[in-house]
């Protein structure tokens, strides 16, 4: 009975929301803020990828918050899963293809990851996407060789420094007498690799942090416990 009710309720809710949403003017957004940003973003931040300039510039503090959430999630997961008594145990040894493929993929993935990060202000992609790929690069060996341990210490150092450098870059602007997280060093070379001032640095920090965080998280999840 309750199942049926819930289904009906969920359906009804969806239907009503649909009715509400159909009142929206689809395909013609007001573009109040968006339009303004589009016209000023290239000058103000020097990035051709306007999404990037929003993510790191206009809504930079959102991104900081988001990094913090990821950090908090990783820390909390670490707290929950704990470090004791963990060995990468029951994973079966990867086959030949996995092992050697993994070894070959590692540099490739690293390159791709960093490429995506560094071109975040020019093309689609950026710190998050690149970070995920970096994490995959670190995680792959673990999958291939169960005995291998990720260097957690290393990861957490990278993570910590990446996160704090994001804030430091922001604070640097503050110490220059400008607002927190204000983009600096904006050159007038739109479209070049070195063009968007501090934005790529920020994205690098984001990428490293995301990569380290996720790699740590994945390795936590991959480990099995002896205490079970």
């Amino acid at each position: 009975m309750r199942n049926l009710t819930s289904l009906l309720f969920a359906g009804g809710l969806g239907f009503m929301l649909l009715a509400i949403a159909s009142g929206l003017d689809f395909g013609a957004p007001p573009m109040l803020v968006g339009g303004a940003i589009q016209s000023t973003a290239p000058q103000e931040t020097g990035a051709t990828n306007i999404v990037t300039s929003v993510v790191l510039g206009y809504r930079g503090i959102d991104t900081l918050g988001e990094l913090s959430i990821l950090f908090a999630a990783a820390a909390a997961a670490g707290l929950v899963l704990g470090r004791r008594h963990t060995t990468a145990g029951t994973l079966t040894e990867g086959g030949f293809v996995l092992k050697h493929g993994g070894a070959m993929l590692f540099p490739l993935l690293m390159t791709i990851g960093f490429y995506i990060i560094f071109h975040g202000h020019l093309t689609p992609g950026g710190g998050f996407q690149g970070g995920v790929i970096l994490a995959a690069a670190f995680f792959l060996p673990l999958l291939a060789r169960p005995g291998a341990r990720l260097h957690h210490g290393m990861l957490s150092v990278i993570e910590g420094f990446a996160g704090s450098s994001f804030i430091l870059i922001g604070l640097a602007a503050l110490s220059e007498g400008e607002a927190f997280l204000q983009p600096m060093l904006v050159q007038d070379t739109l479209g070049q690799l070195v063009s968007a001032g501090t934005l790529p640095l920020l994205y690098l920090a984001v990428g490293l942090k995301v990569g380290a965080e996720l790699a740590g998280l994945l390795s936590h999840l991959a480990q099995t416990e002896s205490e079970v």
Binding site: A10, L17, T48, I69, L81, L221
Partner: protein, 159 residues
């Protein structure tokens, strides 16, 4: 060039449908893992909804390919927000599954009501409350409350 009603309908239906399916899934699942999955789906729906908020007919992605004049672009702000939301979602998801792992370890089950019951029992145990009633047993089986003290003086004095 053809702002058809159908596209709009399809997209909104997809987004809101995902949210509804997710909600229904969370309510209906008896398994905690499946609840987390349902949550992920609902989140995806909300993300789509947000992207739709910035969509513009016949516009291009918000990336400058040429300097100077550029065709109309879709709104970049919702896209930036969706980026954030996706990452937030995956963070929460990771936390959720790690908690699930622990629960499975401790309680040996992920069935929602069993977990709830065990949790109740454990809370009561740590607090030191005798569990007189299980939540399933009907009211009538509870022990009757003792007579009020005030009946004493009506019956005459306290001895």
């Amino acid at each position: 060039m053809m702002p058809e009603i159908s596209l709009e309908l399809i997209l909104y239906t997809t987004a809101l449908g995902l949210i509804s399916i997710g909600l229904a899934g969370v309510v209906l699942s008896r398994h905690l893992f499946r609840m987390v999955l349902a949550l992920v789906i609902a989140e995806a729906g909300a993300n789509l909804m947000l992207v739709l908020a910035g969509y513009r007919w016949d516009a291009v992605a918000p990336i400058l390919t040429t300097l100077g004049e550029h065709p109309p672009m879709v709104d970049p702000v919702p896209q930036a927000m969706v980026l954030t939301a996706i990452v937030i979602g995956v963070g929460i998801q990771a936390l959720a599954v790690s908690i699930l792992i622990r629960i499975r370890q401790r309680y040996g089950t992920l069935d929602r009501s069993q977990v709830a019951e065990r949790m109740d029992a454990e809370i009561a145990d740590t607090a030191g409350i005798p569990r007189d009633v299980s939540q399933e047993s009907p009211l009538g089986e509870r022990p009757l409350p003792s007579l009020p003290d005030s009946t004493v003086e009506i019956r005459g004095g306290h001895s």
